[in-house]
Symmetry: D2
C-alpha cells in the first residue's frame, strides 16, 4: 500500500474540484494511517446555541473519508458516498474547530469502507463517529 | 396516538427556533402517518455538477424526522439526534426540489426512532433513505 | 419491473442452497411490493428471558432482504451483504413467531439497497427496522 | 475511568448469565483500551461454503461491545442493544477463529456507544466493523 497523494496534494485537489467548500477545510495530515482534516468552524456551521450542526459534522466526516480514499487511489473525482452511519455522542465545544481522523479499512475493486472520529480541537473524547462506504469507479482502485 | 402539532404549527416552530435554516424548508404535510418536508433547493445546497450535496440531504432527513417527532410530543426544542444511517441510492435530479417523507416507528420514554425516504420532486424512485434515532428529554414523550 | 421468483420459488431456493437454516424460515408472500418472511421461533433463537436474540433478528432481516432481491434478479447465489444498520425498538413478544417485511428500494448494476421491518406476529408496532446493502454480481441485475 | 470487571470477571459473567452461548466466546483481554473477544468458530456458525455467517459475526460484535461496557459499569445484565451499523468487508478465512476488538467511545447516563473491528485470527485486515449503541439502566453508568 502506497500513498498517491499527500496533504498538500489533497488540499490542492479540494481547491480545484470543491471550490465552494474548500475554504472550510484544511488537511492537517495524510499518511498511511489515514487523514486528519480540520473544519474551520464559522457561523454558517452552527446551530442555535452555538454548537456545530449535524449536517456540518456529517460533511466533515464525508470529506475526510473521501480524501483518505483519494490519498490511496489518486485524484479520482468520481467516487460517491453510498452509505454513512454516524453516531453523535457529545455536543461539540463552542468556539473551537473540529478535527476528523479518517482511516481506510477496505479498498476493494468497487467499494471502499472506512471510519472517522470527530473531535473538538483540544479534547480527547470524540464528539461523533461515522462509518462510510464509497462506490469507486472500476479500475481506479487496486483489487482487494 | 394524537397529533400535537400540524403542518402550520411545525412551520411556525421552525421559523421561531431555526431562523437560520427555516427558509430552506416547507412543511407540506403532517398527520398521523408522518411528515412530508420540502427542501427548496438553492445554490448553497449543490455540489459541483449541480446535484444536491450529501450534507444537504442529511440535513433534510434530520429536520424531517425531528418535525415528525415534534408533531407527536409538541414543541420540545431539546430532542437531539444520536444516530443516523443514511443510504445514498440515486443522484438527485438537477433543478428540482427534494421531498422527505418521515415516519415515527417508535416513540419511547427516552428514545424516538424513525425512517425517512427522500425523493426528487416528481419522481417515484427514492434518492436516499435514512434511519434516525433521537434522544428526547424524559417526560416529554409518552411511555412506549 | 417483473417478478422472477415467487414465494414457492424462493422457498425452494432456500431449501436447496441454505439447507442448514431453511427450516427456520417460511416465505409468506413475494410480490412486487416485497417479501414477507416468517421466522419460526424455536429455542435456539432465544436469549435468556425468552425473547428472540439480536443475531436471530439480524439473520431474519438479512434473509428477507436477500430473498426480496432474488425475487427480482433470479436465483443468483452470489449476492453478499455489505452493510446493515439495524434499530432494535421493542422487545419481541415471547412465544410468537417474527415476521419480516422487506422491500427493495434500489436495484443497481452492482448494489442493491432495501429496508426491512420486523414484527411479532399479531402486533402492529415493529420490534426492529433495518436498512441493508448487497453487492450483486455484475450483469445479474438490470441497470438502475 | 476505572475497570470494574477484568477478563476473568467477564468470562464468569458470560457463563452465569449467558449459559446458552458462553462456550462460543472466550474473553482474551479486557483493559481500559477495550475488550478482545474470541469466537470459537464451530459448524453452527458457518454458511454454505465454510465461512462464518453474518448473524454469527453480528453476534460476536454485539457480545464484545456488551462486555466492553460491562467492564466499565459492572455486571449490569439489563443493558440492551438499540442500534448496530455493521459493514462486512472481507470474507472470513475458513477454519480459523474470529477475534473482535471492542472499544467504548461514550459512556453516558443512558446511552453507551462504541465500535468493534472483527479479524480472522492471524490476519491484519478486518473482515467487518460495527458501531453499536446500548441503552443502559439509569444510575448504572457514571454521568458523561
Amino acid at each position: 500500500m502506497t500513498l498517491l497523494m499527500d496533504a498538500a496534494g489533497l488540499q490542492g485537489f479540494l481547491q480545484r474540484d470543491f471550490g465552494q467548500v474548500a475554504e472550510d477545510f484544511m488537511v492537517e495530515r495524510a499518511d498511511l494511517a489515514g487523514v486528519t482534516l480540520r473544519l474551520r468552524v464559522a457561523a454558517r456551521h452552527l446551530r442555535p446555541g452555538g454548537t456545530v450542526s449535524g449536517p456540518a459534522m456529517f460533511g466533515l466526516a464525508d470529506v475526510a473519508m473521501y480524501l483518505a480514499i483519494l490519498s490511496r487511489i489518486g485524484p479520482v473525482a468520481l467516487a460517491v458516498t453510498t452509505n454513512c452511519a454516524i453516531d453523535f455522542m457529545r455536543k461539540p465545544q463552542a468556539g473551537v474547530d473540529l478535527l476528523a481522523q479518517a482511516r481506510v479499512l477496505k479498498l476493494g475493486r468497487s467499494l471502499a469502507v472506512g471510519d472517522v472520529l470527530l473531535f473538538s480541537e483540544g479534547t480527547s473524547d470524540p464528539v461523533a463517529r461515522a462509518g462510510l462506504t464509497y462506490a469507486i469507479p472500476t479500475k481506479a482502485a487496486s483489487a482487494n
